[in-house]
Amino acid sequence: MKKWLALLVVCSLAWWGHPNVIAAKESLTGYSPLQLKIPSLSIQAPIEPIGREELDAIPPEGEKVFWYKDGVNPGASGNAVIAGHFDDYEGPAIFYSLDQLKVDDLLYIVNEKHQILTYQVEDMETFKRDQAPVDDIFQGNSQSKLKLITCSGYYSKKEKTHTHRTIVSATLVGKTHRYTPSTGS
C-alpha cells in the first residue's frame, strides 16, 4: 500500500515537474492574458485589460502594459494588441527599451488559464503618430499575432503626446503549454 502511495507521489511530482511537455487545452478564441514576459529585455509586466474608450487615455501607470480587450485574445486568430508606456512622468517606463528587440526574439504571454504562449518577433516598425496603419495593426485573421505598441520620437507639448509610435509584430509559435512557475511568477 505504502509502495503504491510512494509511486503515486513520484508520478505526481514528475507530472508537475515537467509542465512544459504537456500541451494545454486551447479555445478557438484564446483567453485573457495576465502577464507579458520579454526575457531579452528583462521585462515582466502585469497586463491590464482596457476597452476602446480607455484606450484613448490609458492609465499613467508605467509598470503595467494594457491589452485591448475589445479585440482578440492572445491565442485566437488575429492580432492581440498590447500597449505600454515608453516613459511616465518621472522617467523610463515598461516599454522604454522596446526598440531594442530584435527579429526572432521570443515573447511570452501567460493567460488566465495558466497557460504560456510563445511569440516570435517578426517585424518592428516606427510610424508618425497620424500615419500609423491603425486598422492593419488591430485587424487581422489567419495567424495569431501579438502587436506591442509604444511611443517614440519626442514628446510634443502641443499634441500632449509623442510624435511617433513603434509597433512590434510577433507571431505565435509552437504549442500552448501549461505554466507552472517554480518560484513565484
Binding site: 478557438l28 486568430s77 515608453f86 516613459d87 517606463a93 497620424d130 491603425v134 492593419d136 485573421n141
Partner: protein, 236 residues
C-alpha cells in the same frame, strides 16, 4: 514595361486601400484557402498578382477592389502554368466578401460569402461555413441543447446568428443525431465582433477535420493610444 507600371500602380493602390475603411465605389474582398489537398496558391485579380503564397487554412487580409465584376484566378504558388480556379466575381460598393477556395483539388471551386460587419451593441454575430468535403451534414448546438445552425452540409454557409456577447460551449453534431463530431469549448464571442466559424479538413484523412475562426469585423479605435508621458523624452 506597361504591365510592370500598371502592376506597380495596382500594388500602390492595394497598399493605400488595404484597410477596412471602405472608400466610395469599393468593395472589400479576402480569400480563404479551405481546400485540404490543394497547394499554397497565388491569387490574381484581372491578371494582376494581389496575394501570393496563401496556404491551406490561411485567409488574406481584406483587399479593396472597385465595385464591378472581376476575374479571379488562383494558381499554385509560383506556378502560372496551370490555373486552379478561374471565376468571375461581381462585387458591390460598400460590401465585404470572403471568397473561399473549397473542395478537394480535383473539384476545387470558389464560393462567395457576403460578410456582415454590423452588430447591435452588446451582441456578437456568428455564422458557420462547412468546408470539410467528407464530413456529413451537421447541427451546431449550444451545450444547453439549442440548435443554432441546423443541418449544415458541405459547401453551405449559414446566415449570421446574432447572440448576446458571452462565452459559449458549442457542440458540432451529426445532423439530427446526438453524436458529437467536435466540441467548441469556451468560445468567447465578444461585443461588436462578427465571426465566421469554418469547418475545414477531412474526417477520414489528412489534414484532419478542425474548426477555424475568421474575424469578419471587430471594434477598432480611430488612432493609436498615447503611450508616453514625457518623463524620459525630449520635450518640444
Amino acid at each position: 514595361m506597361k504591365k510592370v507600371v500598371s502592376f506597380a500602380l495596382f500594388v500602390i493602390m492595394m497598399v493605400t486601400f488595404a484597410s477596412m475603411t471602405m472608400a466610395e465605389g469599393e468593395a472589400m474582398v479576402r480569400v480563404l484557402h479551405a481546400s485540404p489537398d490543394a497547394p499554397a496558391v497565388d491569387v490574381y485579380v484581372n491578371d494582376d498578382l494581389v496575394v501570393d503564397g496563401v496556404g491551406y487554412k490561411d485567409v488574406t487580409d481584406y483587399l479593396a477592389l472597385p465595385a464591378g465584376t472581376h476575374t479571379i484566378e488562383i494558381y499554385p504558388s509560383g506556378d502560372q502554368s496551370t490555373v486552379v480556379i478561374t471565376e468571375q466575381v461581381a462585387v458591390s460598393s460598400g460590401q465585404s466578401y470572403t471568397l473561399g477556395a473549397i473542395g478537394q483539388l480535383e473539384s476545387i471551386r470558389l464560393t462567395t460569402m457576403i460578410d456582415d460587419q454590423e452588430v447591435t451593441a452588446g451582441n456578437t454575430k456568428v455564422r458557420v461555413a462547412h468546408f470539410s468535403p467528407d464530413a456529413p451534414a451537421v447541427d451546431i448546438a449550444t451545450d444547453a441543447g439549442d440548435i443554432l445552425f441546423p443541418n449544415v452540409a458541405f459547401s453551405a454557409v449559414t446566415d449570421y446568428v446574432e447572440l448576446p456577447a458571452a462565452t459559449y460551449n458549442l457542440d458540432i453534431r451529426g445532423a439530427g443525431t446526438a453524436d458529437v463530431v467536435e466540441e467548441l469549448s469556451e468560445l468567447e464571442l465578444k461585443d461588436g465582433m462578427v465571426y465566421t466559424a469554418v469547418a475545414v479538413g477531412l474526417l477520414n484523412g489528412e489534414p484532419e477535420f478542425e474548426m477555424i475562426l475568421l474575424n469578419d469585423a471587430m471594434p477598432t479605435p480611430d488612432e493609436l493610444p498615447k503611450t508616453g508621458l514625457g518623463g524620459a523624452s525630449e520635450i518640444r
